[in-house]
């Protein structure tokens, strides 16, 4: 009897997990992938002339948790590592290149070089996610922006976050 009860509870928990997730915010994998790709395209675009922000905005509230997470925490550790590896490789190539090319001005150590660009990368994620949350709007987006507006960030980034927090439609 006791084991039957335990089994019933276990099955119930598993079912609850499945149905509960479905009932909450679980999104089909294909749609989740599309939203991720749209969000990353916006977070990392250069001039952003391919309607990247509009594409994110079309997903509306479905994109808000990911944008909010990017606003709070920046790029994922894997993305940061990918960029860090690229920067380290580039620095080494520039050092090698400077041996035969006079126009190169190397004024930083590899550590300083990597740090400078990684900070910009992280700043860009905060700026872009704030702009997107401001465009999408809604209570959850506003909550993320309000929280971000209280965090201490560098001046150029703060200006964008404050503006988005001020103008977001709740």
């Amino acid at each position: 009897m006791n084991s039957c009860k335990k089994m019933c509870v276990a099955v119930g928990v598993a079912l609850l997990a499945v149905t509960g997730l479905s009932a909450a915010a679980e999104i089909p994998p294909e749609q989740s992938l599309a939203i991720r790709q749209a969000v990353v395209a916006w977070l990392e675009c250069e001039e952003c002339t391919e309607s990247e922000l509009e594409t994110v905005a079309r997903y509306g509230e479905l994109a808000v948790p990911t944008l909010g997470a990017a606003l709070e925490r920046g790029p994922s550790p894997a993305s940061l590592e990918k960029y860090r590896l690229h920067l380290e490789s580039t620095y080494q190539k520039v050092v090698e290149y400077s041996r035969t090319h006079d126009e190169i001005k190397l004024e930083q150590s590899q550590e300083e070089y990597v740090k400078m660009y990684l900070e910009n990368y992280q700043a860009n994620y905060v700026v872009r996610s704030a702009e997107a949350l401001g465009k999408v709007g809604g209570r959850e987006a506003a909550r993320f922006l309000e929280a971000a507006s209280k965090r201490k960030v560098r001046e150029d980034v703060d200006a964008v976050v404050q503006e988005a927090a001020k103008t977001v439609a709740k």
Partner: protein
């Protein structure tokens, strides 16, 4: 938590992990795209073809709307294509207990320290979603198929390795998809293209004054026994075997050469080819790179080191991809000058006011480092003007120079890997295609020509953006396809 509840959740997690790995992978763009000449594979420089793949999700919350109860990732690794036999993965920074607990299926066998994935599909489960500190990474080495190499060697010994006209390059790819349950959360794809680069030394092109002695890219329009050929790709540092090239007949006969440290050479109307073997076309690669004068206006305090880094990388990228273009910077520190800061503004909206001011040098490239949170932009009102913001990456300036020299974005074009400098986003862009280098050099409205840095024949190419001058409708429109040789090095 009760043990049976944990078991139920674990069962659910495992079911999720293995239930949905069949998601479409055809949408994965190339992260890298190696090209190796067949004659090079016999002594493949292994360290050159090493890739590093970070473990973890692409976005920080892993996947929009995915269940939050899992803590492990699984990898699906596909090794495809005739030249490839396997991929070797060596994980670093994985906690020992996690490394010991990894499970391998399919064609994957070994350990976290040395995992061999054979051709087909291999699976790894039990990788961490996140660890403390820097993300774990996998070092990926490619293993070429020994039978394929032996076949190439046999062909070479029989003198049959020379590229037959119309024969496609052998190719292969390694795709790594990372899954969180049934949700794909990151991906990496490396393409390998192995064209048959060897041609017998019958007719030939002889390059002289190759400043760096590099393997130059040579695009040839000519007549073969099969008819006219366009943009036939060849490689070589000095003497390049061409096989049998025939007299021009009704065919276009032209050669374009791209080489590190040398300006692009465009030789139209080649008259060297006859119907007899032993013809030689001599091409002198003098002058060296064309150095475009560049004025960097530092309207933001403390931007000098960033500008150094950006210009350094631009010079590296343009030269190492054979474009034949470099940049000679002059730095102007104007951040303490209120008039300069006000005139320069923070973007292309201010460009009309900048033109004609003391903070603009006409007929040369001008880049403005401003105190505003954006990456970068080249201005349509004058392609000599680019603005660089505070969140630019180390490729932004090189990318804007590409626009200045007529290039458009390559977004969505499957012929280009995501490492192309003209992809309108991404943070690890390293390459120009020869088709792009041709346009930057030869397109009539490229600033290289409109600024007078280059003097030579020009073309009116497709897949370009508007420039500072209009191209005459009488200008020759023959240009190689934009995606010609997407990986010149």
């Amino acid at each position: 938590m009760e043990r049976y509840i944990r078991r139920a959740l674990a069962a659910f997690a495992i079911a999720c992990t293995f239930s949905g790995l069949a998601a479409q992978a055809g949408d994965i763009g190339l992260s890298r795209n190696w090209k190796i000449c067949a004659n090079e594979v016999f002594e493949l420089p292994q360290d050159l073809y090493v890739e590093w793949v970070p473990v973890g999700c692409e976005v920080v919350d892993c996947c929009p709307g995915c269940p939050g109860i899992l803590d492990k990732l699984s990898w699906k690794i596909q090794v495809e294509g005739a030249p490839l036999e396997s991929a070797t993965l060596k994980f670093s920074r994985l906690p020992k207990d996690i490394a010991a607990g990894l499970k391998f299926e399919g064609t994957a066998q070994g350990s976290a320290e040395n995992l061999l994935v054979g051709k087909g599909e291999g699976f790894i489960s039990g990788l961490p979603v996140e660890i403390a500190g820097r993300a774990a990474v996998a070092r990926l080495d490619v293993g070429l198929d020994k039978a394929w190499i032996q076949g190439q060697a046999n062909l070479a010994r029989a003198g049959l390795l020379a590229r037959a006209e119309g024969v496609e390059a052998d190719s292969g790819s390694i795709t790594i998809e990372q899954y969180y349950g049934k949700y794909r959360v990151n991906e990496y794809k490396i393409g390998f293209r192995i064209p048959r680069c060897l041609f017998p030394f019958t007719d030939r092109i002889v390059l002289s004054n190759n400043a760096s002695g590099d393997s130059a890219s040579v695009l040839v329009d000519a007549r073969r026994s099969t008819g006219c050929v366009l943009e036939e790709e060849h490689k070589g540092a000095g003497i390049i075997g061409m096989g049998s090239v025939l007299s021009n007949g009704g065919c276009r006969s032209e050669v374009a050469v791209f080489s590190d440290d040398d300006a692009m050479q465009l030789v139209p109307g080649v008259g060297a080819w006859t119907n007899f073997l032993g013809d030689t076309l001599n091409i002198n690669l003098t002058p060296n790179r064309l150095m475009a004068p560049l004025h960097i206006w530092l309207a933001r305090p403390g931007a000098l080191l960033t500008a150094f880094g950006d210009v350094n990388n631009a010079n590296l990228l343009y030269n190492s991809n054979n474009s034949g273009i470099g940049f000679s910077p002059v730095f102007h520190s104007v951040s303490a000058n209120p008039l300069a800061v006000a005139t320069i503004g923070t973007g292309c909206g201010s460009a009309p006011g900048v033109i004609g001011s003391a903070f603009f040098v006409p007929g040369q490239l001008n880049a403005y480092y401003v105190n505003s949170a954006f990456t970068g932009v080249n201005c349509g009102v004058n392609r000599n003007i680019q603005y660089v913001g505070t969140t630019a990456n180390n490729q932004t300036l090189a990318h804007e120079f590409g626009h200045s020299m007529s290039l458009d974005h390559t977004n969505g074009d499957p012929a280009f890997p995501v490492t192309n400098v003209m992809i309108g986003g991404g943070a690890a862009r390293t390459h120009f295609a020869d088709g792009q280098s041709f346009r930057m050099n030869a397109h009539c409205s490229s600033t290289l020509n409109s600024n007078g840095v280059r003097a030579g024949p020009v073309r009116r190419c497709s897949n370009t953006i508007s420039g500072n001058v209009s191209c005459s409708i009488f200008t020759d429109t023959h240009c190689p396809p934009l995606a010609t040789d997407v990986l010149p090095k």
